[in-house]
Amino acid sequence: MSSDENSLKHASGPYFGQFGGRWMPESLMAAMDELNDTFEKAKADPDFIAEIRELNANYSGRPSLLTEAKRFSELACGGVRVFLKREDLNHTGSHKINNVLGQALLAKRMGKTRIIAETGAGQHGVASATAAALMGLECVVYMGAEDTRRQALNVARMQLLGATVIPVTVGSQTLKDAINEALRDWVANVENTHYLLGTAAGGHPFPAMVRYFHEVIGEEAREQILAQTGRLPDAVTACIGGGSNAIGIFHGFLDDPEVELYGFEAGGDGVDTDRHAATITLGRPGVLHGAKSYLMQDEDGQTIESHSISAGLDYPGVGPEHAHLAEIGRVNYEPITDTEAMDAFKLLCRTEGILPAIESSHALAGTIKVAQRKLAAGADPAQTIIIANLSGRGDKDVGTAAAWFNLIDEQTAAKEQ
């Protein structure tokens, strides 16, 4: 274990190396200060911690399982042992519930009656609508108009849960524009409204706070792998859009230098094309949505529209803590193309009977690559262990996948969605 001084797992912000901070309008500073104070007090309050534990155990269904994927290991990874951290089994179907329950509790502590959220794939929107329903808060979700078409079932799900979904028709009509609209709403309604940001990005305290609520993923995974195998894994993999599921599972292993950490970004059509969302691989430092981090931008500092088959990874920025972990070399970040992700999606369906989210399929594709490299380097597969964070389930992606694999024609897919 590293000494406290060198510990990476509890980095508190506002800065992570040169990244992070609060690059945002003065109008929101008071709300950010209030949120920070409330969060710091809550973290030190045994009642709050007990409340979170109770919700995690009896509402979300935590701890989530750690499942050894034996057939996937055999058929795709040359026998390297692959364990899946089953965030797909959480209530609402992804890791997102961890963060929304925590932030919704904070909203109530601040006396706010309304939450707003952005969503890409719809997972965070559904989770936010769920938390709002559970806690009796009004909920408005901003979603890029293009994403409302790609994820129409999730729109209906949010509406069934009582949320109002506002399609965003400005800019590229995807996640980044949904965040812009949510910020505009927040500036105007900050008195009664909490902005429930869904990823480990944004101005301080969001990156550190969102990580805090997801740390349970890494803590559980660490205990579970020790219990099941008696040792730490050789590598941990996760997909990265903004990076909340990844920072959550990495947290459990950041201070174990022998554990390699891998974040897999959306490579879209390939990083040699201009259609991808490989922010760390190809981006440059900049400021967007409140934080300094890597950013897909042109030579004028204008944000470049990202592309991915996975709406949840289709974001041109990334959380500042990831930018720092990339810069210091603690985590390896690599792109995975749409094709690689969809191949891995199908493999997991066929070998394990688990339908992964397309987001999480990027982590699976990366896991296959890491396993192959280990084998090429002469590792004994039976003695090699990788944990992949299965951040969400793929029910929402059935239409996209069916169209990708030509199971139904596109018109039917559109209707199904």
Partner: protein, 260 residues
């Protein structure tokens, strides 16, 4: 070419017994030459300080009208370095102080020092920075000192007294008092919060406190002018330019300044 500061223009207006009038237009809307002509029309019709906005892909403090104009400018191929050509085009033809309003990432991308140097060379007076707070502005503080540029930060109705004090201390030229909690856009009435924001700025030692957001009519200018040192109009001018071209901008500026 002489560089005129916003502080000088505000002092001159004060000496004449009126608030300074500050007019916003986006760079490159509808195209670069027209944005210069429109700014010149502002200056010729009583606007003291011209605020040129750099179109940006993620303008979180802007409402629909300005978003549409800046999106159109970007779609028309606007490049950030053209802002220097626009500033020069205005300062060569008017004696207005020319400020640039910009979200921070385009400046970071070019390099804060390089942007500041080229902007000063073009005759610019200073920058208005809606998503940069003094807490993150070390690089800009250094560059603005080096090139003698004014730093206009914003304060809002939600700003704590400590933040107002800190922001006033970091600002030069004037302090931008956001009149309401919201984004840019014309409103029929000026927010009641505006005066308390100005009072807080003055109490913290600001010499020049100017009010923006939601200001669109001559009566607003008069009302705000009774307690503030300057009045900032944006969306109404952008809508005039969109709907009636340069003549409409000139006519609205004349009305706002009380010349019409």
């Amino acid at each position: 070419m002489t560089r005129v500061s916003s502080a000088e223009k505000i002092a001159a207006a004060r000496a004449a017994g009126r608030p300074a009038l500050i007019g916003y237009l986006p760079a490159g809307f509808p195209d670069v030459p027209t944005s210069i002509e429109a700014a010149v029309a502002l200056a010729e019709n009583g606007v003291d300080i011209i605020e040129i906005g750099i179109p940006y892909s993620d303008p979180v403090m802007d409402g629909e009208v300005i978003q549409q104009a800046t999106t159109a400018a970007l779609a028309g191929g606007f490049k950030v370095n053209q802002v220097f050509e626009i500033v020069r085009g205005i300062t060569e033809r008017t004696d207005a102080a020319v400020m640039v309003m910009t979200y921070w990432n385009p400046v970071l991308r070019m390099g804060v020092d390089e942007f500041s140097r080229r902007f000063a060379e073009a005759g610019g007076a200073g920058l208005i920075t809606p998503d940069l707070v003094p807490d993150e502005a070390d690089e800009w503080l250094a560059a603005s000192e080096k090139y003698d540029l004014e730093r206009v930060f914003l304060i809002a109705p939600s700003s704590s007294p400590e933040r107002v004090a800190r922001t006033v201390e970091a600002s030069s030229g004037f302090i931008y008092c956001v009149s309401l909690m919201g984004v840019t856009g014309a409103r029929s009435e000026v927010s009641a919060a505006a005066q308390s924001v100005v009072d807080a700025a003055h109490a913290a030692g600001a010499q020049n406190a100017c009010v923006g957001l939601g200001v669109s009519r001559r009566e607003h200018v008069e009302q705000i002018g009774s307690y503030a040192d300057g009045v900032i109009v944006g969306t109404a001018l952008v809508a005039a330019l969109r709907d009636g071209g340069v003549p409409a901008v000139g006519a609205l500026a004349a009305e706002l300044s009380g010349r019409a």
